[in-house]
Structure formats: C-alpha cells, structure tokens
C-alpha cells in the first residue's frame, strides 16, 4: 500500500469541506440557540442529565437504536425499517470504516477531515494485504447496503402504496433538492471508486465495475489519473449540495433527533410553542407523513394539509395564518404522536400554539360560590362521584353508574348532580391555562373538603385532567371502567354473560391518553361477547366529536364519525360499547347499531 498523491490533497475535496464546515457550524450554533432558549431550570436539568451514567447510557442506546437502526420503524413496517436503517447505519459504517482505514494505513493523515471520505482516491494497492482486502470488502458490503436502501427509497417515491403508505407528504422544493442530492451521493461514490479501483484496489463491488469501465473506456483511459477526477468532483459536489440544503430541509431531523433524544430522556417538555424543546421536536420531524394516514381528519382526502407534519413545516416557515388554522382544527386525539417514529407531540405543540393567543376578555370565575358547592359534598362517604359535563348530557350513563354502585353496596356522593364546575380540560386544550388553573383550584378545594377517598369519574376527559393536573393527595382518581372491573374481581358485583356481541371503542383520552385498555375489555368480555374493531387500542380512531378541536364544524365531523363507525363495525358486532359520554353521543347520532356505555353494559348484566 502506498499513497498515490504525495501532498494528500486535491481541489475536489473543497466542496465537501465547505459543506461539512457549514453544516457543523449551523448545527453547533443551532444547538446553542436551543439551549439558550430553554428555561433556566430545564437547561440545568438537561445539562446535568448528560452526566448521570444511567441517563447517559440510555441516551447513547436510544440514539443508536433509533437514529441509526430505526428499531421502532422496523417494528411498525419492516420494509421501511430496512430502507431507513440501511441508509443510516450503512452510511455510518462507511464513515467509521473509512476512519479505520486511515488509522491503519496512513495514520499521519488522520487529522485531515476529508481523507476517510475520499480514501480510495489517495491510495494505491490498498487491498494487497489481508487486512486491506477485508476492509475493502466491508466497505463494498456497506456501500451495497446503502445502495439497496436508496433503491427502495426511489421505488417508494414512485409507488408509496407498496410500502403500506397510502399518502405521503408533498415534498417542498428544498426537500426535493436534498432528496436528489442524497440519492446521488452513493451511486456517484460507487462510480468514482469504480474508476479508481484499478489503482487503489477494491472488492466485489467496485472491482468488477472497474473491469466494466475498462471494457467501455479502454485500459489506457483508466490508467490516467486525470480521467477519474470528474466522478470524484461529482461525488464531492453531491455531498456539498446535500449538506448545504440539510439545515433547511427535512433532513435536519438527522442531527436534530440526536439532541431531541437526550432532552426527552432528561424529562423536558414543551413550554413555548416556538422555542427550546418545541423547536427541537419541530426540527426532528422527518416529514415522512405517517401522521397523514393516521389522522382521523384525513378521511375522504379532507384536511390533508392539517396533519402534524404540515404543522411542523409551517412552523419552520413561520406561516402564522396556517399555523393558527392547523392548531385550531386538530381533534387532539394523539394518534399522530402514537405512530410518529420520532415522537413529535402534535397535540402538545398545538395547545402551546393556542396558548399564545391574546384575549380581550378572560373569565375569572369570581362568581362561583365554592363555599356552597363544598357544603353540598361535606361529610361525603368514601366515594365521590363526579359525572362531568358530558355525562350530564347522557344521563343513561350516570343512572347506570349509580345503579351499579347501589348494587355493589358502595356508599357514594354525587358531586355535580345539580350544579358543578367543569374539570378544566376543554379550557386547557383551548390554550387558556390561567382559566383552567382557576377551575382546578376551585374543584380541588371542593373535593378536598368532602373527605372522600376515591374520586370516581365517568368521563375520560375529566379523568385525564384529574390524573395529570390536580394535586389530590390521598384521594384516588379512578374511571368507572377501572372501578367496576375492580368491583368485579373483588366479587362485589357478579356479571352474567349476555348473548350480545360488542365492539369496544377506545376513547382517545382513556386509551392513548391514560393507557386504560384492558379493564373495559374485561368488563365487556364478562358481561357479553367482544369482537375487536378493524384497528383498536393505540390505533383507535377518534369518534370525531372531540372537544380538542376548536374550529371543526358539526358538518365536517360527520365523515370522521362515519369512518370511525365503519372501523368499529368491521367484525359485525350487535352493538358498540365505549367508555366516554362524548363518544357515546357522537356515535349515537350516526350509528345504525346501538351504542352503549360500559356502565350500561355492566348494569344490564349485573346482580348485586
């Protein structure tokens, strides 16, 4: 092995060097900016977390598994998983092995940034030793792996349906430029190394290519070093273009995710819609468009541009009008976050956006008489039942809940039977945090004065709110589906199996929101027969009635509800069971088969 170029330099490396310097500087200052934007305690928490061994190890592991191997994507879609990990991990290995080559053969050049990338151009006969031949074999192997990934990417661009994606994002101009640059990097590398393989040596991929080129161009042409330069220039320029457009294209997710993972592991969350952690999530969005198919609003090709991927794009562009439109429309069902490989929190981003609105008038709830409401629940027995606003519109639920409690011999007090306050979640989802906090404060005072030990809720919206935003020390917050399942297992109620067959609908706030999936199914399974819907549990489709959306009209929601109903009726059930009063009333409007709350199902088959 010897070095072919004595100076170890050729002008073609310059585009690569400029591009590399640009992208490194951009990411460095970008990271500093995000750090500076974080609130002081968040910044401290993040920086400290980097030095906690357990967290640091988790960071390294998560970055390796998610950014390079794309394990999450493999689990969801193996073909897409292979496509992404072959490019990411293959490229990573090419860089690592390039450095290893330089370290083993020309350690004096290790300080040169470009040497590992363009190693083949600068050396001759590197495959003469066993070590060299083995490294060249590995290089060719990983180049082949990357090329296979690129081939899949090209096929996916033309026929995304083969990969199980019905719809993908419309690429913006800069994304397209970045994509073509990325696609061309590796074929150009193959070509450049193929031209040089006769001199530098090569393995199973570039050596045969060299023979082929020899047939086409003649041996003399290939012996002349100047003739191989155009391909090396092209390879270097492709790298340059990719790295220059990277910060402005979706490929920014590659460096951004490496910072997002440690931040998430440090326990940071979105506090401002455009700064710090939120910015990190926005830039980490790879623009894959998985959220488009997942979004319940996208039925019948409607609202396609209102999914999280487009929100992220508009936030990056600073298109205020569209940001507000997209933020206000969303149902906040959380399905986009569930399917997102990076874990971009679409609903949290939108709520943060909503919170930036200014209002000329703000409710203060000064007229609410907390004393009177507290007196009404004073000396309550162990269980305090909070039906919630939506349950008051579906009295069949509260009637069944009370009936089951009576049959089980549970003493309870109904907190909002005649009057009461909202839990505050709709206000919170509208981004009016101060108002929501006022409601939380008042409800907390009332509940604490009651002396109850269990707060029983019928509405998953309230349940999530009480669980996450109330500080009710010593009081257990429980949804009726969980509570009834407990009554069943402890033998307080006995259920007889009926002959109806139910499909159970997972309400967004109970399922994805609070991870309650099994208790309602246990209850339905004991009281009747159960059949799963087309998609369910984490993938459950929002009923379309969600209070999360501010601007969706009544008419626009119909298609979403019908789509969710079609999904539920896939297994031909006799009736639909759900655990949310809002889902119940939304489905009842259009359903051809009866819709029942879990409490009604339990009550109908329950003996005390």
């Amino acid at each position: 092995m010897r070095e072919r170029i004595a100076s170890g330099f050729d002008p073609f490396v310059l585009p690569f060097l400029v591009g590399m310097a640009f992208v490194l500087l951009y990411c460095f200052f970008g990271a500093l900016r995000v750090l500076w934007q974080l609130p002081r305690e968040d910044r401290r928490r993040f920086l400290l977390s980097l030095f906690i061994p357990a967290t640091a190890w988790k960071n390294v592991k998560d970055i390796f598994l998610n950014c390079l191997l794309h394990v999450k994507l493999w689990k969801r879609n193996p073909v897409l998983g292979y496509m992404h990990s072959s490019i990411a991990f293959g490229w990573f290995m090419l860089i690592v092995l390039g450095h290893l080559e330089v370290y083993l053969f020309v350690p004096s050049r290790l300080h040169l940034f470009y040497y590992p990338i363009f190693f083949n151009y600068f050396v001759a006969g590197a495959d003469m030793s066993l070590q060299g031949a083995f490294l060249f074999f590995l290089m060719d192997l990983f180049l082949l792996v990357v090329l296979s990934g690129i081939t899949l990417a090209i096929i996916k661009r033309i026929r995304s349906d083969i990969f199980g994606m019905r719809r993908t994002t419309r690429a913006s101009l800069v994304d397209t430029v970045g994509m073509y640059a990325l696609w061309s990097i590796f074929p150009l590398r193959l070509l450049a190394e193929g031209f040089t393989a006769g001199i530098s040596g090569g393995s199973f991929l570039i050596k045969p290519l060299n023979w082929l080129l020899e047939v086409v161009f003649g041996t003399e042409f290939l012996q002349n070093g100047a003739n191989m330069l155009p391909t090396w220039w092209a390879y270097s320029i492709a790298l340059f273009v990719f790295m220059v457009v990277l910060p402005f294209s979706r490929y920014m997710h590659i460096p951004a995710e490496m910072m997002l993972i440690p931040m998430r592991n440090a326990g940071l969350r979105i506090r401002h819609p455009r700064r710090g952690f939120a910015l990190m999530e926005v830039y980490s969005c790879p623009g894959c468009g998985v959220c488009i198919d997942a979004c319940p609003m996208s039925v019948k090709k409607g609202n396609l541009k209102d999914c999280t991927v487009y929100l992220n794009r508009q936030i990056r562009r600073g298109n205020e009008k569209r940001i507000e439109e997209i933020s206000d429309k969303c149902l906040l069902c959380g399905k986009c976050t569930e399917v997102c490989q990076v874990g971009v929190e679409g609903p949290a981003l939108r709520i943060a956006q909503r919170s930036r609105k200014e209002y000329g008038l703000s409710p203060d709830y000064a007229a609410v008489d907390v004393g009177r409401l507290s007196a009404a629940v004073a000396d309550s027995p162990e269980v305090l039942y909070f039906a919630g606003c939506m349950t008051q519109l579906t009295p069949s639920i509260s009637r069944s809940v009370c009936s089951v409690l009576d049959k089980a011999g549970v003493k309870y007090r109904w907190m909002d039977r005649t009057e009461g306050l909202c839990c505050g979640r709709p206000m919170l989802q509208a981004g009016r945090f101060a108002q929501a906090k006022e409601m939380v404060r008042r409800n907390t005072a009332i509940i604490k004065s009651s002396g109850a030990k269990v707060l029983l809720l019928s509405c998953p919206i309230c349940y999530k709110m009480f669980k996450e935003h109330y500080k009710l020390e010593g009081i257990e917050v429980v949804h009726h589906s969980v509570y009834f399942d407990r009554l069943r297992t402890t033998g307080k109620i006995t259920l007889t199996k009926g002959d109806l067959c139910y499909a159970y609908h997972d309400p967004c706030e109970l399922g994805r929101g609070c991870k309650v999936y099994d208790e309602p199914r246990n209850l339905v399974g004991t009281a009747a027969y159960i059949v799963e819907a087309g998609v369910s549990r984490e993938a459950s489709i929002c009923c379309g009635g969600s209070l999360g959306s501010i601007s969706l009209s009544f008419e626009a929601r119909e298609a979403m509800t019908r789509n969710a109903l079609d999904n539920l009726c896939k297994g031909h059930p006799d009736a639909i069971a759900t655990a949310c009063p809002l889902c119940l009333s939304t489905f009842s409007r259009y359903s051809e088969i009866p819709v029942r709350d879990i409490a009604e199902v339990v009550d109908a088959s329950c003996q005390g």
Binding site: K357, P363, C389, E419, C422, P426, A430, L547
Partner: protein, 104 residues
Amino acid sequence: MDFGFGLSPSSAVTLDRVDLSLYRKLEELNPDIRTCIACGSCSATCMAAEYSGMSVRKLILNIQRGADVSKMLSCCMLCGKCTMVCPRGINTRKVILDCCRYFK
C-alpha cells in the same frame, strides 16, 4: 326616551347608536351564528348559567344589540355542552372564544 322616573332602567335599544363591530367580526368568523333559532337549548344546559347568567342564545342577541356581555362570559368554562345540544350545529365554543378574543 327616558324621563328618569322609571323604577327599572330603560331597556330600549337604539340600533343606530349601537357599536356592531364585534358582531360583524363574529359573523365574519362564524357565519353559522346567523342560523341561530334562539331555541335556548344552550341556555338550558349551560354549566355557568347558575353563576353568571351565561347563555349563548343571549350572548348572540346581546352582541347584536350592543349590550354588555362581559358578565355572562366571566364564568364560561368552555365545556362544550352548548355545542353538543345545538340543533343547528353551531360551533358555540368557537363563537365564545372569538368573542373573548375580539372583545374590547
């Protein structure tokens, strides 16, 4: 005409003198408020009615007449019951939020 002898304040509305800018804005953003039939379903279900006399029916009417709505809105909790019961499918929550937003 108010001669100052009445026991209760005059409830006369002079539409010529009323500032309708808020109503115009609301109408522009929520054209469906024109379809309100004043059935009062929203008033009947309202959680805040007990505390501040809130009612979307009255809210729309008062804004059309240029009367003050700040008191009734002071206890609205945005719970969405009015939206659920509205027979005309009016997005009352958005009407309320827009009203708070452009209130001067």
